[in-house]
Protein backbone atom coordinates (compact mmCIF):
# COMPACT_ATOMS: atom_id res chain seq x y z
CA UNK A 1 0.00 0.00 0.00
CA UNK A 2 1.00 3.55 -0.65
CA UNK A 3 2.56 5.36 2.33
CA UNK A 4 0.83 8.22 4.12
CA UNK A 5 2.43 11.47 3.00
CA UNK A 6 3.77 14.31 5.13
CA UNK A 7 3.77 17.62 3.31
CA UNK A 8 5.33 20.80 4.72
CA UNK A 9 3.67 23.95 3.38
CA UNK A 10 5.70 27.10 2.75
CA UNK A 11 4.12 30.52 2.34
CA UNK A 12 5.97 32.71 -0.12
CA UNK A 13 5.64 36.46 -0.40
CA UNK A 14 7.52 38.43 -3.05
CA UNK A 15 9.72 35.39 -3.60
CA UNK A 16 10.64 34.77 0.06
CA UNK A 17 9.22 32.39 2.65
CA UNK A 18 7.49 34.30 5.38
CA UNK A 19 7.12 31.92 8.28
CA UNK A 20 9.78 30.15 10.18
CA UNK A 21 12.54 30.35 12.68
CA UNK A 22 16.23 30.30 12.00
CA UNK A 23 17.25 26.73 11.48
CA UNK A 24 20.86 26.19 12.42
CA UNK A 25 21.45 24.23 9.26
CA UNK A 26 20.30 27.02 6.99
CA UNK A 27 22.10 30.17 5.92
CA UNK A 28 18.95 31.88 4.79
CA UNK A 29 15.66 30.68 6.19
CA UNK A 30 13.80 33.01 3.86
CA UNK A 31 15.13 31.23 0.83
CA UNK A 32 12.31 28.99 -0.33
CA UNK A 33 14.62 26.64 -2.22
CA UNK A 34 16.97 26.12 0.69
CA UNK A 35 14.13 25.56 3.15
CA UNK A 36 12.43 23.13 0.76
CA UNK A 37 15.65 21.21 0.31
CA UNK A 38 16.05 20.91 4.06
CA UNK A 39 12.55 19.44 4.36
CA UNK A 40 13.25 17.07 1.48
CA UNK A 41 16.42 15.89 3.25
CA UNK A 42 14.40 15.33 6.42
CA UNK A 43 12.06 13.04 4.52
CA UNK A 44 9.20 15.27 3.40
CA UNK A 45 7.17 13.37 0.80
CA UNK A 46 6.10 16.45 -1.13
CA UNK A 47 6.18 20.20 -0.68
CA UNK A 48 3.54 22.85 -1.14
CA UNK A 49 4.49 26.42 -1.97
CA UNK A 50 1.73 28.97 -1.56
CA UNK A 51 2.18 32.36 -3.18
CA UNK A 52 0.65 35.00 -0.93
CA UNK A 53 2.05 37.96 -2.88
CA UNK A 54 -0.43 40.66 -3.55
CA UNK A 55 1.33 42.28 -6.50
CA UNK A 56 2.02 41.46 -10.13
CA UNK A 57 5.75 41.73 -9.46
CA UNK A 58 5.38 39.24 -6.64
CA UNK A 59 3.62 36.85 -9.00
CA UNK A 60 6.42 37.09 -11.55
CA UNK A 61 9.02 36.53 -8.87
CA UNK A 62 7.09 33.44 -7.81
CA UNK A 63 7.23 31.97 -11.31
CA UNK A 64 11.00 32.27 -11.44
CA UNK A 65 11.17 30.83 -7.95
CA UNK A 66 9.16 27.81 -9.17
CA UNK A 67 11.80 27.28 -11.86
CA UNK A 68 14.54 27.28 -9.22
CA UNK A 69 12.58 24.89 -7.01
CA UNK A 70 12.05 22.51 -9.93
CA UNK A 71 15.77 22.45 -10.73
CA UNK A 72 16.84 21.89 -7.16
CA UNK A 73 14.27 19.70 -5.45
CA UNK A 74 14.05 15.98 -6.23
CA UNK A 75 10.59 15.31 -4.79
CA UNK A 76 7.20 16.45 -6.12
CA UNK A 77 5.87 19.88 -5.29
CA UNK A 78 2.57 21.69 -5.59
CA UNK A 79 2.14 25.41 -6.06
CA UNK A 80 -0.91 27.43 -5.19
CA UNK A 81 -2.17 30.92 -4.56
CA UNK A 82 -3.86 33.19 -7.03
CA UNK A 83 -4.31 30.65 -9.83
CA UNK A 84 -7.47 31.67 -11.60
CA UNK A 85 -7.04 30.85 -15.27
CA UNK A 86 -5.69 28.02 -17.38
CA UNK A 87 -2.91 30.40 -18.45
CA UNK A 88 -1.79 30.73 -14.81
CA UNK A 89 -1.72 26.94 -14.58
CA UNK A 90 0.21 26.61 -17.84
CA UNK A 91 2.81 29.16 -16.72
CA UNK A 92 3.47 27.21 -13.50
CA UNK A 93 3.53 23.86 -15.31
CA UNK A 94 6.08 25.26 -17.73
CA UNK A 95 8.12 26.52 -14.80
CA UNK A 96 8.25 22.94 -13.52
CA UNK A 97 5.48 22.58 -10.93
CA UNK A 98 4.21 19.02 -10.55
CA UNK A 99 0.77 20.09 -9.38
CA UNK A 100 -1.23 23.25 -8.86
CA UNK A 101 -3.84 23.85 -6.21
CA UNK A 102 -6.92 25.90 -6.97
CA UNK A 103 -9.45 27.17 -4.49
CA UNK A 104 -11.58 30.32 -4.85
CA UNK A 105 -11.24 30.41 -8.63
CA UNK A 106 -12.74 26.92 -8.87
CA UNK A 107 -15.66 27.96 -6.67
CA UNK A 108 -16.30 30.94 -8.95
CA UNK A 109 -15.76 28.95 -12.11
CA UNK A 110 -15.98 25.16 -11.58
CA UNK A 111 -15.31 24.63 -15.30
CA UNK A 112 -11.71 25.64 -14.58
CA UNK A 113 -11.14 22.20 -12.98
CA UNK A 114 -12.29 20.45 -16.18
CA UNK A 115 -10.18 22.70 -18.38
CA UNK A 116 -6.95 22.22 -16.47
CA UNK A 117 -7.51 18.50 -15.84
CA UNK A 118 -8.36 17.70 -19.44
CA UNK A 119 -5.37 19.61 -20.75
CA UNK A 120 -2.73 18.57 -18.20
CA UNK A 121 -4.21 15.54 -16.45
CA UNK A 122 -5.91 15.00 -13.12
CA UNK A 123 -2.60 14.40 -11.37
CA UNK A 124 -1.84 18.10 -11.93
CA UNK A 125 -4.97 19.43 -10.19
CA UNK A 126 -5.38 19.67 -6.43
CA UNK A 127 -8.74 21.12 -5.41
CA UNK A 128 -8.32 23.01 -2.15
CA UNK A 129 -11.54 23.38 -0.18
CA UNK A 130 -11.99 25.51 2.92
CA UNK A 131 -15.13 24.75 4.89
CA UNK A 132 -16.88 25.83 8.07
CA UNK A 133 -19.53 23.97 10.06
CA UNK A 134 -22.65 26.12 10.17
CA UNK A 135 -25.90 24.76 11.65
CA UNK A 136 -24.72 21.21 11.08
CA UNK A 137 -23.71 21.81 7.43
CA UNK A 138 -20.13 22.07 6.20
CA UNK A 139 -20.27 25.19 4.03
CA UNK A 140 -17.52 26.04 1.56
CA UNK A 141 -15.83 29.38 2.19
CA UNK A 142 -13.42 31.49 0.16
CA UNK A 143 -11.00 34.32 0.93
CA UNK A 144 -9.45 32.57 3.89
CA UNK A 145 -12.81 31.73 5.43
CA UNK A 146 -14.17 35.27 5.28
CA UNK A 147 -16.74 34.62 2.56
CA UNK A 148 -19.40 31.96 2.85
CA UNK A 149 -20.61 30.35 -0.35
CA UNK A 150 -23.74 28.33 -1.04
CA UNK A 151 -21.69 25.19 -1.73
CA UNK A 152 -21.61 22.27 0.66
CA UNK A 153 -18.40 20.33 1.35
CA UNK A 154 -19.40 16.81 0.34
CA UNK A 155 -21.23 17.69 -2.84
CA UNK A 156 -18.50 20.15 -3.88
CA UNK A 157 -15.73 17.61 -3.27
CA UNK A 158 -17.65 15.00 -5.29
CA UNK A 159 -18.21 17.53 -8.06
CA UNK A 160 -14.50 18.38 -8.01
CA UNK A 161 -13.61 14.71 -8.37
CA UNK A 162 -16.06 14.26 -11.24
CA UNK A 163 -14.70 17.33 -12.99
CA UNK A 164 -11.21 15.87 -12.86
CA UNK A 165 -9.43 16.97 -9.68
CA UNK A 166 -6.76 14.44 -8.71
CA UNK A 167 -6.73 15.24 -4.98
CA UNK A 168 -8.75 17.16 -2.43
CA UNK A 169 -6.96 19.39 0.09
CA UNK A 170 -9.47 19.98 2.86
CA UNK A 171 -9.05 22.65 5.55
CA UNK A 172 -11.62 23.12 8.28
CA UNK A 173 -11.71 26.84 8.94
CA UNK A 174 -13.07 26.03 12.40
CA UNK A 175 -9.85 24.18 13.22
CA UNK A 176 -7.24 25.99 11.13
CA UNK A 177 -4.78 27.81 13.36
CA UNK A 178 -6.29 26.46 16.59
CA UNK A 179 -3.76 23.66 16.99
CA UNK A 180 -6.53 21.55 18.52
CA UNK A 181 -6.56 18.81 15.90
CA UNK A 182 -8.66 17.98 12.87
CA UNK A 183 -12.35 17.06 12.53
CA UNK A 184 -11.52 13.38 12.02
CA UNK A 185 -15.11 12.17 11.60
CA UNK A 186 -15.63 14.58 8.73
CA UNK A 187 -12.38 13.51 7.11
CA UNK A 188 -13.36 9.84 7.43
CA UNK A 189 -16.79 10.51 5.92
CA UNK A 190 -15.18 12.39 3.03
CA UNK A 191 -12.67 9.56 2.45
CA UNK A 192 -15.47 7.02 2.23
CA UNK A 193 -17.24 9.11 -0.43
CA UNK A 194 -14.31 9.87 -2.70
CA UNK A 195 -12.01 7.67 -4.74
CA UNK A 196 -9.24 10.29 -5.00
CA UNK A 197 -6.69 11.01 -2.25
CA UNK A 198 -7.46 13.50 0.52
CA UNK A 199 -4.88 15.80 2.08
CA UNK A 200 -5.66 17.07 5.58
CA UNK A 201 -4.70 20.62 6.42
CA UNK A 202 -5.12 23.07 9.26
CA UNK A 203 -5.28 22.24 12.93
CA UNK A 204 -2.28 20.10 13.80
CA UNK A 205 -0.92 20.97 17.22
CA UNK A 206 0.95 17.78 17.96
CA UNK A 207 1.99 14.43 16.54
CA UNK A 208 -1.15 12.79 17.93
CA UNK A 209 -3.37 15.09 15.84
CA UNK A 210 -1.59 14.08 12.65
CA UNK A 211 -1.68 10.40 13.63
CA UNK A 212 -5.44 10.70 14.24
CA UNK A 213 -6.29 12.30 10.92
CA UNK A 214 -4.21 9.73 9.01
CA UNK A 215 -5.72 6.76 10.88
CA UNK A 216 -9.20 7.60 12.21
CA UNK A 217 -9.65 10.36 9.64
CA UNK A 218 -8.44 8.07 6.80
CA UNK A 219 -6.64 10.98 5.16
CA UNK A 220 -3.92 10.04 2.66
CA UNK A 221 -1.62 12.90 3.54
CA UNK A 222 -1.18 15.63 6.12
CA UNK A 223 -0.05 19.12 5.28
CA UNK A 224 1.41 21.29 8.03
CA UNK A 225 3.22 24.55 8.36
CA UNK A 226 3.83 25.87 11.86
CA UNK A 227 4.88 22.66 13.60
CA UNK A 228 7.73 22.38 11.10
CA UNK A 229 8.60 26.04 10.59
CA UNK A 230 8.89 26.74 14.29
CA UNK A 231 11.14 23.76 14.71
CA UNK A 232 8.86 21.93 17.13
CA UNK A 233 9.44 18.65 15.37
CA UNK A 234 11.36 17.60 12.30
CA UNK A 235 9.65 15.77 9.47
CA UNK A 236 11.80 12.75 10.22
CA UNK A 237 10.95 12.66 13.94
CA UNK A 238 7.26 13.03 13.10
CA UNK A 239 7.42 10.12 10.68
CA UNK A 240 9.21 7.93 13.23
CA UNK A 241 6.44 8.66 15.74
CA UNK A 242 3.79 7.83 13.16
CA UNK A 243 5.55 4.57 12.35
CA UNK A 244 5.48 3.62 16.04
CA UNK A 245 1.73 4.02 15.83
CA UNK A 246 1.62 1.57 12.92
CA UNK A 247 1.01 4.21 10.28
CA UNK A 248 2.82 3.40 7.07
CA UNK A 249 5.29 6.14 6.18
CA UNK A 250 8.37 6.39 3.99
CA UNK A 251 11.49 6.49 6.14
Amino acid sequence: MVAKRIIPCLDVKEGRTVKGINFLSLQDVGDAVELGRMYARQGADELVYLDISATVEGRNTFTSLVERIASNINIPFTVGGGISTIEDAARLLDAGADKISINSAAVRNPQLIDEIASKYGSQFVVLAVDAKLIDGVWRITTHGGRQLTDKELFSWAREGQERGAGEILFTSMDHDGTRNGYPCDTFAALASELSIPIIASGGAGCVGDIADVLSKGKADAALAASIFHYGEITVEALKRELQKQNIKVRL
Binding site: M1, V2, A3, R5, A40, D45, A70, S71, N72, N74, I75, P76, L93, D94, G96, D98, Y120, G121, S122, Q123, F124, G166, E167, A191, S192, E193, L194, S195, I196, P197, K218, D220, A221, R250
Partner: protein, 196 residues
Protein backbone atom coordinates in the same frame (compact mmCIF):
# COMPACT_ATOMS: atom_id res chain seq x y z
CA UNK B 1 24.14 11.59 -25.01
CA UNK B 2 20.63 10.65 -23.87
CA UNK B 3 17.77 11.38 -26.26
CA UNK B 4 14.55 12.32 -24.49
CA UNK B 5 11.76 11.56 -26.93
CA UNK B 6 9.63 14.66 -27.48
CA UNK B 7 6.14 13.74 -28.60
CA UNK B 8 4.21 16.61 -27.07
CA UNK B 9 2.94 14.91 -23.93
CA UNK B 10 3.31 17.64 -21.41
CA UNK B 11 6.01 18.06 -18.90
CA UNK B 12 9.45 16.83 -19.92
CA UNK B 13 11.03 19.41 -17.72
CA UNK B 14 11.21 17.37 -14.55
CA UNK B 15 13.11 14.63 -16.38
CA UNK B 16 15.54 17.23 -17.76
CA UNK B 17 16.01 18.74 -14.30
CA UNK B 18 16.75 15.33 -12.80
CA UNK B 19 19.34 14.58 -15.51
CA UNK B 20 20.91 17.99 -14.87
CA UNK B 21 21.17 17.15 -11.17
CA UNK B 22 23.08 13.93 -11.88
CA UNK B 23 25.21 15.66 -14.51
CA UNK B 24 24.01 13.66 -17.53
CA UNK B 25 23.99 15.09 -21.03
CA UNK B 26 20.74 14.94 -22.95
CA UNK B 27 18.71 16.47 -25.70
CA UNK B 28 14.95 16.67 -26.14
CA UNK B 29 14.09 15.64 -29.68
CA UNK B 30 11.71 13.92 -32.07
CA UNK B 31 14.41 13.60 -34.74
CA UNK B 32 14.65 9.97 -35.87
CA UNK B 33 18.39 9.98 -36.55
CA UNK B 34 19.28 11.63 -33.24
CA UNK B 35 17.12 9.10 -31.38
CA UNK B 36 18.59 6.15 -33.29
CA UNK B 37 22.16 7.29 -32.65
CA UNK B 38 21.82 8.28 -28.98
CA UNK B 39 23.60 6.22 -26.30
CA UNK B 40 20.42 6.01 -24.28
CA UNK B 41 16.78 6.84 -24.99
CA UNK B 42 14.18 8.04 -22.50
CA UNK B 43 10.47 7.86 -23.28
CA UNK B 44 8.74 9.93 -20.59
CA UNK B 45 5.36 11.58 -20.65
CA UNK B 46 2.13 12.16 -18.86
CA UNK B 47 -1.23 11.94 -20.52
CA UNK B 48 -3.76 9.63 -21.98
CA UNK B 49 -2.58 6.40 -23.65
CA UNK B 50 -4.52 6.43 -26.92
CA UNK B 51 -3.70 10.07 -27.70
CA UNK B 52 -0.07 9.51 -26.70
CA UNK B 53 0.10 6.56 -29.15
CA UNK B 54 -1.44 8.77 -31.79
CA UNK B 55 1.24 11.40 -31.23
CA UNK B 56 4.05 8.84 -31.45
CA UNK B 57 2.56 7.54 -34.64
CA UNK B 58 2.09 11.00 -36.20
CA UNK B 59 5.82 11.58 -35.72
CA UNK B 60 6.66 8.19 -37.23
CA UNK B 61 8.24 7.19 -33.93
CA UNK B 62 6.59 3.79 -33.33
CA UNK B 63 8.91 1.81 -35.61
CA UNK B 64 11.89 3.95 -34.64
CA UNK B 65 11.39 3.02 -30.98
CA UNK B 66 10.68 -0.65 -31.67
CA UNK B 67 13.91 -0.85 -33.68
CA UNK B 68 16.23 0.70 -31.06
CA UNK B 69 19.21 -1.37 -29.89
CA UNK B 70 20.58 0.85 -27.10
CA UNK B 71 19.07 0.89 -23.58
CA UNK B 72 15.63 2.54 -23.65
CA UNK B 73 13.72 3.58 -20.52
CA UNK B 74 10.01 4.34 -20.62
CA UNK B 75 8.74 6.28 -17.62
CA UNK B 76 5.10 6.12 -16.43
CA UNK B 77 3.01 6.39 -19.62
CA UNK B 78 6.24 5.54 -21.43
CA UNK B 79 6.18 2.07 -19.84
CA UNK B 80 2.50 1.70 -20.66
CA UNK B 81 3.05 2.60 -24.31
CA UNK B 82 5.68 -0.15 -24.55
CA UNK B 83 3.07 -2.76 -23.51
CA UNK B 84 0.71 -4.67 -25.81
CA UNK B 85 -2.39 -2.61 -25.15
CA UNK B 86 -4.04 -0.30 -22.65
CA UNK B 87 -7.60 -0.07 -21.39
CA UNK B 88 -7.17 3.70 -21.48
CA UNK B 89 -8.89 4.76 -24.70
CA UNK B 90 -8.58 1.10 -25.86
CA UNK B 91 -5.12 1.87 -27.11
CA UNK B 92 -3.09 -0.61 -29.10
CA UNK B 93 0.45 0.07 -27.93
CA UNK B 94 3.98 -0.70 -29.13
CA UNK B 95 3.88 -4.37 -28.10
CA UNK B 96 7.44 -4.53 -26.80
CA UNK B 97 6.38 -5.91 -23.40
CA UNK B 98 3.89 -8.74 -23.36
CA UNK B 99 1.58 -7.07 -20.85
CA UNK B 100 -1.84 -5.48 -20.65
CA UNK B 101 -2.40 -2.12 -18.99
CA UNK B 102 -5.53 -1.97 -16.85
CA UNK B 103 -7.20 0.64 -14.68
CA UNK B 104 -7.04 0.36 -10.88
CA UNK B 105 -10.32 -0.23 -9.09
CA UNK B 106 -10.85 2.24 -6.25
CA UNK B 107 -11.86 0.78 -2.89
CA UNK B 108 -12.10 3.65 -0.40
CA UNK B 109 -12.89 1.29 2.48
CA UNK B 110 -9.51 -0.40 2.01
CA UNK B 111 -7.68 2.84 1.34
CA UNK B 112 -7.20 2.03 -2.35
CA UNK B 113 -7.34 5.35 -4.19
CA UNK B 114 -7.28 6.13 -7.88
CA UNK B 115 -5.06 7.80 -8.98
CA UNK B 116 -2.44 5.79 -7.14
CA UNK B 117 -0.51 8.81 -5.95
CA UNK B 118 2.43 8.95 -3.60
CA UNK B 119 5.32 6.85 -2.36
CA UNK B 120 5.03 3.10 -2.51
CA UNK B 121 7.41 0.20 -2.09
CA UNK B 122 9.02 -1.70 -4.94
CA UNK B 123 9.81 -5.39 -4.40
CA UNK B 124 11.13 -8.43 -6.25
CA UNK B 125 13.87 -6.27 -7.72
CA UNK B 126 15.71 -8.19 -10.41
CA UNK B 127 17.78 -6.01 -12.64
CA UNK B 128 21.01 -4.01 -12.70
CA UNK B 129 18.61 -1.06 -12.98
CA UNK B 130 18.11 -1.50 -9.21
CA UNK B 131 21.76 -1.90 -8.26
CA UNK B 132 22.21 -0.47 -4.76
CA UNK B 133 18.45 -0.18 -4.18
CA UNK B 134 16.96 -2.11 -1.25
CA UNK B 135 13.92 -4.36 -1.48
CA UNK B 136 10.99 -2.30 -0.27
CA UNK B 137 12.54 1.05 -1.25
CA UNK B 138 9.98 3.80 -1.74
CA UNK B 139 9.50 5.52 -5.09
CA UNK B 140 6.96 8.07 -6.28
CA UNK B 141 3.98 6.97 -8.35
CA UNK B 142 1.19 8.95 -10.03
CA UNK B 143 -1.06 6.88 -12.27
CA UNK B 144 -4.52 5.37 -12.65
CA UNK B 145 -3.57 2.55 -15.02
CA UNK B 146 -0.88 -0.10 -14.56
CA UNK B 147 0.60 -3.08 -16.39
CA UNK B 148 -0.15 -6.55 -15.09
CA UNK B 149 2.77 -8.51 -13.71
CA UNK B 150 4.23 -10.28 -16.75
CA UNK B 151 7.24 -12.31 -17.82
CA UNK B 152 9.68 -9.42 -17.94
CA UNK B 153 8.65 -7.88 -14.63
CA UNK B 154 11.74 -6.67 -12.72
CA UNK B 155 9.91 -4.89 -9.86
CA UNK B 156 6.42 -5.11 -8.43
CA UNK B 157 4.28 -2.85 -6.30
CA UNK B 158 0.73 -2.98 -5.00
CA UNK B 159 -2.34 -0.73 -5.05
CA UNK B 160 -5.32 -2.96 -4.43
CA UNK B 161 -3.75 -5.41 -6.87
CA UNK B 162 -0.13 -6.28 -7.56
CA UNK B 163 1.21 -4.63 -10.70
CA UNK B 164 4.47 -4.33 -12.65
CA UNK B 165 6.41 -1.38 -11.23
CA UNK B 166 9.19 -2.03 -13.76
CA UNK B 167 9.58 -4.27 -16.80
CA UNK B 168 12.57 -5.29 -18.92
CA UNK B 169 12.87 -7.03 -22.25
CA UNK B 170 16.24 -7.07 -24.00
CA UNK B 171 17.38 -3.43 -24.18
CA UNK B 172 13.95 -2.05 -23.25
CA UNK B 173 13.14 -0.97 -19.69
CA UNK B 174 10.01 0.59 -18.26
CA UNK B 175 9.41 2.22 -14.87
CA UNK B 176 5.84 2.91 -13.81
CA UNK B 177 7.09 5.24 -11.06
CA UNK B 178 8.86 8.55 -11.57
CA UNK B 179 12.59 8.18 -10.87
CA UNK B 180 12.94 11.90 -11.61
CA UNK B 181 10.72 12.66 -8.58
CA UNK B 182 11.81 9.84 -6.29
CA UNK B 183 14.53 11.58 -4.32
CA UNK B 184 17.88 9.86 -3.87
CA UNK B 185 16.47 6.44 -4.79
CA UNK B 186 15.25 7.78 -8.12
CA UNK B 187 18.57 9.46 -8.87
CA UNK B 188 20.35 6.17 -8.21
CA UNK B 189 18.02 4.36 -10.64
CA UNK B 190 18.64 6.99 -13.33
CA UNK B 191 22.40 6.68 -12.81
CA UNK B 192 22.09 2.88 -13.06
CA UNK B 193 20.24 3.29 -16.34
CA UNK B 194 23.02 5.45 -17.70
CA UNK B 195 25.59 2.84 -16.65
CA UNK B 196 23.73 -0.20 -18.04
Amino acid sequence: MIAIVDYDTGNLRSVCNALDRIGAEYCVTDNHDIIKNADRVLLPGVGEASSAMQKLSERGLCDVIRGLKQPVLGICIGLQLMCRSSEEGNARCLGIFDAEVRRFTPSPADGVKVPHMGWNEIRNLQSPLFKGIDEGAFVYFVHSFAADVCGGTIATSCNGREFAAAINKDNFYGAQFHPEKSGAVGECILKNFIEL
